[in-house]
Structure formats: structure tokens, C-alpha cells
């Protein structure tokens, strides 16, 4: 079984989000990293870029596949995980921790309501 922590929300496209109230952290799920296989490349936006909910914000590539990354909510990029540029395998090793990808300053927190709960995401991956 894949790990689906209860402390975050999810997208159908397998991204997760957590928030400390000010910023939103984004990554991809354990299920997604397993489906991709060995992650070898991550392309992320620059700090200060604006993203809109549902838009592609980057790309994660494994040896065998290329996958777009989708923004869970609209906002401004506050930070990117630059460790992934040298160690993209962190996405496989620790998808909910050191393998995080992006931090956003949200422009519309109501968009959180559109995201999947852990239960809903669990049903999707079963």
C-alpha cells in the first residue's frame, strides 16, 4: 500500500499540499513517485513566478516517463526545492518530506476546498 498522510490534501493528478497558514508546500504522492520509477530530473518555476490553480508549473521526469506537475492553488512561488536539481531521487526516497517541490503564497485560500481529502485520494488510488 502507498502512504497517503492525513495531514494534507491532494489533486487527482497526484500532487499533495500542506499549509502552515501562510505558505503552501507542494509535492507528488508516494503513489506517483512509484508509478514514475526512478526520478532523474525535475523542472520547477522561479521564485516570484505566478501560477494559477490547475496550471502546469513544472515537469518531473523518470528514466521512462515525462509528467507535468499541476498547481493545486493559485499564488506566487515563494520557494523551490533546489536540492532536487542535484538529487532528484529525493522525490522517490521521501516524497512527502525532502522531496517537496514548491512553496506558494496563495492568492485565494478558498481554492483549498476544491482539493481531495486523504480519503478521497485513497479511493482514487485503490
Amino acid at each position: 500500500m502507498f502512504e497517503i498522510p492525513d495531514d494534507r490534501k491532494y489533486l487527482e493528478s497526484h500532487e499533495w499540499t500542506t499549509t502552515d497558514g501562510d505558505t503552501v508546500r507542494v509535492g507528488i504522492s508516494d503513489f506517483a513517485q512509484d508509478e514514475l520509477g526512478d526520478v532523474v530530473f525535475v523542472e520547477l518555476p522561479a521564485e516570484g513566478d505566478e501560477v494559477a490553480a490547475g496550471d502546469e508549473f513544472g515537469v518531473v521526469e523518470s528514466i521512462k516517463a515525462v509528467s507535468d506537475l499541476y498547481a493545486p492553488i493559485s499564488g506566487t512561488v515563494a520557494a523551490v526545492n533546489e536540492d532536487l536539481f542535484d538529487a532528484p531521487e529525493l522525490v522517490n526516497d521521501d516524497p512527502y518530506g525532502d522531496g517537496w517541490m514548491l512553496e506558494l503564497e496563495p492568492s485565494d485560500t478558498d481554492e483549498f476546498d476544491d482539493l481531495l481529502s486523504p480519503e478521497e485520494y485513497r479511493e482514487q488510488t485503490e
Binding site: G37, V40, F41, E43, I63, K64, V66
Partner: protein, 364 residues
């Protein structure tokens, strides 16, 4: 029509393999990690189920003549127990398939077994029988794809691994491209010192029904076909259906960098076209490249000049597990083919600098 399955399909599934389609077959693409499986082959030994590869046997008084006229290499150079890499081309010299041709020993000396790529068995059987009939040759052609399972044992420890399972055979005495019948775990197998990962390796063909016995006797890391592709790319070897394809990527052996398998002093279908191209030279050439900027080249991406003019196409690309560098293969106009030339690869539309490199990418 459903996908064809290798004899060990269930065993692979039990071992945790993921499957994907290769040439109409549902084959293991990885067990745990392509990177780990790739490293096993480079550093120790891995075993691949390649039972999806086609097998056509050709025998009879005119078997040599038929093979000679339908493959570009010189079949008469083969002694019993020898094999050669070869190409099968159409009238225009375009590669339909690449193959290894074995001349089997211990039979009547005129028995050949050749290995078309996965899913090409029916097409090749039809091609061989129809030309045989047109030329009125006395040869028997059999599609034995589903009679033989085939495993590739590849890596620096391959000899030890196969010898452990076949202690009575002098496999160390085989040079590259030689083969013999050998008793592997009590099963008579055709064991060939061939394989295309850049490592020492053996291909073991055994009767379909004995696949489990033979597979389990070969103690090596199970590897899916995902890492076979990355291993081959590191060597600059052609991937059928990707680096050449008679429909989507029609290429001659000279364009594809395998001109060494064309023997113009033999008579074969497509010879005249290839002789003409050899005289005229090729406009486009198969090259390797490494990406200097961040990104990964993939099949179908454009190759452009430094000025941004699109001149070529990527046919294969990956992050090299051995080098941890993005590498690719593709076709460019010959004037851009020199090693060290700087070009650009359009990675999802964005220009990334790349340097032409003559494969192999690794020191082998």
C-alpha cells in the same frame, strides 16, 4: 487481439515486475528500479527475459542462398556455431529490421536461426517464404518464436553465471558471436555469446516449456526491458521502431551507422540502392549527443542549429544511469555530425545546448 505473453509471465508478476508492451508482447519493464537493474548489468550480472524476440529457422539445401539474398551481411562467412549482426532491407535499402543470424552446428550445417525484433515474426516469415517461392529455392522456413524462450545474461559476471548452470560446457572457450548447444540445468539450450548491452553476455535459448527450469538456474539480478533500453542507448545501439522504422523513421544502414553489416560483394535485396548511396554519400547521419543544459532529450524532439534552424530529430534519449548525464541519439545533416559540434535540442520547445558525441557514451 490481446498482448502475447512470455512463458514466465506469471513468475515475473509474482516477482513484482511491472509490464509494458514491446512489439505486441506484455513484457517486464522493471522489477524494482531501472537504475538498480542497469547498475547490476554494468557492475555484476543481470538476466533479461527476451522471449518476445522473434525466431525464424531456415534449413534445407538452399538455406544459405535464401539467407544471403534477404540479409545484407555475408552469410557464407559463418561457420557452424558462428553468428553475425545483420540488416534486412527493402528494395530501396531501407532497414526493415536488424537481426542476429546464427548458423547452427551439429545439424546438417545448413540450418540458420535468425532473431528479428519483437512482433516481426509473421512479417519475416512471410517475407522469407514469398521470396523463396519467387526464386524457386529449396528451403524450409519455420516461425519458431513460440517454441523458444530466450534469456539474456549480461554483465561482467555473465560467464560465471552461465557456467554455474552449465558446468559441462566450455562456454569460456566461445568468442564473441560464437554459440553452442549446451546442457543448462538438464535442458538442451542454444547458448550464444552475444548481446547488446556493451558487456560480456550470453543469450540462452531453451524450449518454451523448460523456461522456468532454465531461468531459475541462472543466478542473476532480474532485469526488465527498461534498463535494456538505457544500456543500449549508452552504447549507441539502434532501437528498432525508434531509431529506425520503415514507416516512421525510414533509414538505410549507412544513415543508421551500421554500414559495416552491408557487404556489397554479395547479392541481396536492396543491394543496388545501397551501392548507389555508398557512392553518393549520405545526407543525414545517426549521431549521439550529450545535453549541456539541464533537461532530458526524448524521442521526437527537434534538433536545431545554434541559430535555431531545425535540422534533425531525436530518436532516443534518456538520463544515462552510468554517467548521470542526459544522452541522446538521432539524425542530423552530415555537416553537423562531427564530434564536438554544438547543436540545440528543443526540449518541450525550449532550446537546450547539446554537443555531438560519437557513441559509445561510456568506455567499453
Amino acid at each position: 487481439m490481446g498482448l502475447r505473453k512470455p512463458p514466465l509471465y506469471d513468475a515475473h508478476a509474482d516477482a513484482g515486475a511491472r509490464f509494458t508492451e514491446f512489439g505486441g508482447w506484455d513484457m517486464p519493464v522493471e522489477y524494482d528500479s531501472i537504475k538498480a537493474e542497469h547498475a547490476a548489468v554494468r557492475e555484476s550480472v543481470g538476466i533479461f527475459d527476451v522471449s518476445h524476440m522473434s525466431e525464424i529457422e531456415v534449413s534445407g539445401p538452399d538455406a544459405t542462398a535464401l539467407m544471403q539474398r534477404l540479409t545484407t551481411n555475408d552469410v557464407t562467412a559463418l561457420d557452424p556455431g558462428d553468428s553475425q549482426y545483420s540488416a534486412i532491407v527493402d528494395d530501396e535499402g531501407v532497414i526493415i529490421d536488424d537481426t542476429v543470424v546464427y548458423r547452427l552446428p551439429d545439424r546438417d550445417g545448413r540450418v540458420y536461426l535468425f532473431i528479428p525484433n519483437a512482433g516481426h515474426d509473421e512479417e519475416m516469415y512471410d517475407r522469407w517464404t514469398s521470396f523463396r517461392d519467387d526464386w524457386d529455392l529449396d528451403a524450409t522456413v519455420e516461425d519458431v518464436t513460440e517454441e523458444w524462450a530466450m534469456f539474456a545474461v549480461q554483465g561482467p559476471d555473465a560467464l560465471d553465471t552461465v557456467t554455474d548452470a552449465a558446468p559441462d560446457a566450455n562456454l569460456g572457450g566461445l568468442s564473441k558471436f560464437q554459440a553452442t548447444f549446451a546442457d543448462v540445468a538438464g535442458v538442451e539450450c542454444w547458448v550464444a555469446r552475444t548481446g547488446y548491452t556493451g558487456e560480456d553476455g550470453f543469450e540462452v535459448l531453451c524450449p518454451w516449456d523448460d523456461a522456468e527450469t532454465v531461468w531459475s538456474s541462472l543466478d542473476a539480478t532480474p532485469c526488465g526491458l527498461g534498463c535494456r533500453d538505457t544500456l543500449r542507448m549508452e552504447m549507441g545501439y539502434l532501437l528498432s521502431g525508434q531509431d529506425f522504422d520503415p514507416e516512421d523513421e525510414p533509414r538505410t544502414p549507412y544513415e543508421a551507422g551500421i554500414g559495416f553489416v552491408v557487404k556489397l560483394d554479395t547479392e541481396f535485396v536492396g543491394r543496388d540502392a545501397l551501392e548507389q548511396q555508398r557512392e553518393d554519400g549520405v545526407d543525414e547521419t545517426f549521431v549521439g549527443f550529450t545535453l549541456l543544459d539541464r533537461g532530458i532529450p526524448r524521442h521526437g524532439y527537434d534538433i536545431a542549429t545554434e541559430d535555431g534552424d531545425v535540422v534533425g530529430v531525436v530518436t532516443s534519449g534518456t538520463m544515462s544511469p552510468t554517467l548521470s548525464e542526459p544522452i541522446g541519439l538521432g539524425y542530423v545533416p552530415t555537416e553537423y555530425a562531427e564530434s564536438g559540434t554544438i547543436v540545440q535540442v528543443l526540449v518541450r520547445g525550449r532550446e537546450k545546448r547539446a554537443k555531438i558525441v560519437t557513441p559509445p557514451f561510456i568506455d567499453r
